[in-house]
């Protein structure tokens, strides 16, 4: 009897906690997530230039315009490219640097800071800095080419190279962040496992392959999640570097949204892009959580 009362007491306690803490969170979530997304979905049905309130309902036409737009296809492909580069170049680079720098040797802390520095820099500043670096007349790259007596290419001015040049900046800017995540994980690793492996005669490579990396797996999965979501949202490096050009070759979905939706005053169209992007992110996040991060 007493036990039952105690149990009920705990239930009431739990319930009051829910009643106390859930409403503010739910309210904020509704206000700042559900409503804006719902609003964007509503606007996406209109041919609307953003002035006043929308009146010209065109149903799903905006979605058709989006998929008919050549530049959207390029933007989508570019987003996929960023994801691939992030997963195949950025994360391995971050991981290998982390493995080296997690050990406490002289200068390790300084090196960590140096590699982390690009991440601290504002995206827009990074973009401006690299637009100078890549400048084919006066830039750092041009100076290097000139010292070899060659004429420098204008990387950002050619549809073939502009997006690759952006990818380099993306890797440069974000690998430090992932490296820090890996270093943190490495430092909380159970040392006794490594020692056990060493006593068992495992080589350095073997202990990396069979002990360290499996132990880091939750962090790697988390890191990959950040990299993919971040890749889908990339915007503020593209604008100062190329503004999506030349010939719309370097748009991401977000810069596409901004350029074709906002600056052209086609808010309905832009909203449709926003909704598509939102759906892609949601589907990805749920799938990833369900299949890849299900243990955590």
């Amino acid at each position: 009897m007493a036990a039952l009362a105690g149990r009920r007491g705990a239930d009431i306690g739990k319930l009051s906690t829910i009643l106390l803490f859930l409403p503010p969170a739910l309210l904020l979530f509704t206000l700042f997530v559900v409503l804006p997304v719902g609003e964007a979905a509503w606007y996406s049905g209109f041919n609307w230039n953003g002035f006043g309130s929308p009146t010209n309902w065109i149903g799903l036409d905006n979605y058709r315009f989006v998929f008919d737009n050549r530049a959207f296809g390029t933007a989508f492909k570019n987003n996929l490219l960023i994801i691939i580069v992030s997963l195949l170049i950025q994360l391995p680079l971050a991981l290998s640097l982390a493995i080296i720098l997690a050990d406490r040797f002289r200068g390790a802390v300084v090196l960590r800071m140096v590699f982390f520095l690009p991440y601290i820099l504002a995206e827009i500043a990074t973009g401006l800095i690299f637009s100078f670096v890549y400048d084919g007349d006066y830039g750092l790259l041009a100076a290097i080419y000139k010292s070899f007596g060659a004429e420098a290419p204008h990387l950002l001015a050619s549809p073939q190279t502009a997006f690759a040049a952006i990818l380099v900046v993306v890797v440069w800017k974000y690998f430090g962040f992932h490296m820090m995540l890996f270093i943190a994980a490495l430092q909380s690793l159970d040392r006794s496992m490594l020692e056990a492996a060493r006593i068992d005669g495992a080589s350095r490579w073997q202990s990396l392959r069979y002990v360290v990396i499996p132990a880091l797996s939750p962090t790697i999965r988390l890191s990959a999640f950040f990299a993919i979501v971040g890749s889908l949202q990339l915007f503020d490096l593209v604008m100062p570097l190329t503004r999506g050009g030349p010939s719309d070759s370097s748009h991401t979905m977000v810069s596409f949204l901004y350029t074709f939706g906002i600056t052209r005053m086609r808010v309905g169209f832009g909203s449709a892009v926003g909704v598509i992007l939102f759906l892609i992110c949601v589907v990805f996040a749920f799938t990833y959580k369900r299949w890849i991060m299900r243990d955590e």
Partner: protein
């Protein structure tokens, strides 16, 4: 917070009774002028106006051209919008009027408007109501560096037909000189080629037919032909290396630095080419030539037809009446003459053009005065959405990623979608 402040001010006004005379009206004025010299004259005029109108303060804000265009729709709908904003008239102005974010200033313009060039006032008239005060007009044509042309054996004065022009480009290429500079990243400097060719090919009639959807609209013969003629130029590879990555300001600087022989320019670049040159001097007057856009064989447009801008200032909804009063003070004989003397604008105030300081600008003013058809920039005239597609498509022709036919179709598609 602002509302609270306003409340405090009105309470104070009530309490002291005489507050009205002391109340400070601030007129917020947003411009896109990157050249500090004319802005200094503007500021002087503003200070004079303040001295004559106690209690009024004119506050200037600057935004870069492209940033301004991107920000305008949201800016205009915010409660904190500026009272006076820059405008290129045309379709953008029309959508702003339709949205009801501008103030109808027709009554305030009575009497005063007769002092201004009628066509310039017309550009700011929508459905018979006036929404803005014109400020200056400009012409598109080639600015040329006589030294560089001379080295290639080209005479600027002899370029009258498009074939002459293509020939000059070939000669410059052969002499190892970059024939043309252009800011391909901003796209609008590229669209001048296509639109001016269309003006030469079809004249006023073709544009008006296209706007009504006749003769195949922008997919019609005139506009495809202008793309093909433009392609002939593009195939000669006349532009500086990496032109698709150049912003307009960089390209203008390139010309100012003497790195390219010609620049398809707005006449107001007369100054900007100095501002953006490394040495801040640019191509000196005695070496700077102006070439009217060449005529095209069989073209229906008059050689005197001009492409250019009609720029001015709009009053936004809810602006204090002092804003119009200031504009009428600002666009007036004396300030317009002062700006003309510095060659910053081709003035719209009648008689002020006599004050133009340089032969270069007097020539432009003469061209515009002789013009029977002054076509506003297409990207402004056709409105924000279609206009931008014109910029896109023409830049794609220059990049070689669209054929003239595809470009014309893209523009007509955008026009048909009508948003």
């Amino acid at each position: 917070m602002a509302r609270f402040k306003r409340l405090l001010v009105s309470v104070a006004t009530l309490a002291f009774g005489s507050g009205a005379a002391l109340a400070q009206t601030t007129v917020k004025w947003l411009h896109i002028e990157a050249n500090p010299v004319p802005v200094k004259i503007w500021e002087e005029v503003a200070r004079e106006f303040e001295a004559k109108n106690p209690g009024v303060k004119i506050e200037m804000q600057y935004l870069e051209n492209e940033a301004y265009k991107a920000k305008a729709p949201t800016l205009l709908q915010s409660k904190d919008r500026p009272h006076i904003i820059y405008s290129w008239a045309g379709g953008v102005l029309k959508s702003q009027v339709e949205a009801g974010v501008l103030e109808d200033i027709t009554p305030a313009m009575q009497g005063y408007r007769d002092n201004l060039s009628a066509s310039a006032v017309d550009a700011f008239t929508v459905n018979g109501r006036i929404y803005g005060v014109p400020y200056g007009v400009s012409q598109v044509g080639f600015m040329a560096n006589k030294d560089l042309l001379g080295k290639a054996g080209v005479d600027a004065g002899k370029i009258t037909s498009y074939d002459d022009f293509l020939d000059a480009v070939k000669k410059l290429k052969a002499a190892g000189i970059t024939p043309l500079a252009v800011g391909g990243a901003d796209k609008w400097p590229v669209h001048f080629y296509w639109t001016h060719l269309a003006v030469r090919l079809g004249g006023k009639a073709a544009m008006q037919a296209a706007l009504k959807g006749q003769d195949g609209g922008f997919e019609g013969e005139t506009f495809q032909k202008s793309g093909e003629l433009f392609k002939q130029l593009v195939d000669l590879q006349p532009y500086q290396n990496g032109f698709l990555g150049f912003k307009s300001q960089q390209a203008i600087g390139h010309f100012g630095d003497g790195k390219a022989a010609m620049l398809l320019a707005i006449s107001s670049f007369y100054h900007t080419q100095k501002v953006f040159a490394v040495d801040k001097a640019g191509v000196p007057d005695d070496k700077l030539a102006w070439i009217n856009f060449p005529t095209v064989a069989g073209g229906k447009g008059q050689p005197s037809d001009t492409l250019g801008g009609i720029n001015g200032w709009l009053i936004t909804k809810g602006a204090p009446k002092e804003a119009v009063a200031f504009l009428k003070y600002f666009v007036n004989a004396e300030p317009q003459k002062r700006l003309a003397a510095g060659n910053f604008i081709v003035p719209v105030y009648k008689g002020a053009e006599a004050g133009l300081g340089s032969a270069f600008m007097r020539n432009i003013a003469q061209n515009i005065a002789n013009s029977t058809y002054h076509q506003n920039f297409y990207d402004q005239d056709l409105g924000p959405s279609v206009g931008r597609v014109v910029n896109d498509a023409t830049t794609e022709i220059a990049a070689g990623t669209m054929t003239p036919k595809q470009a014309a179709k893209a523009i007509q598609d955008a026009f048909r979608q009508g948003n």
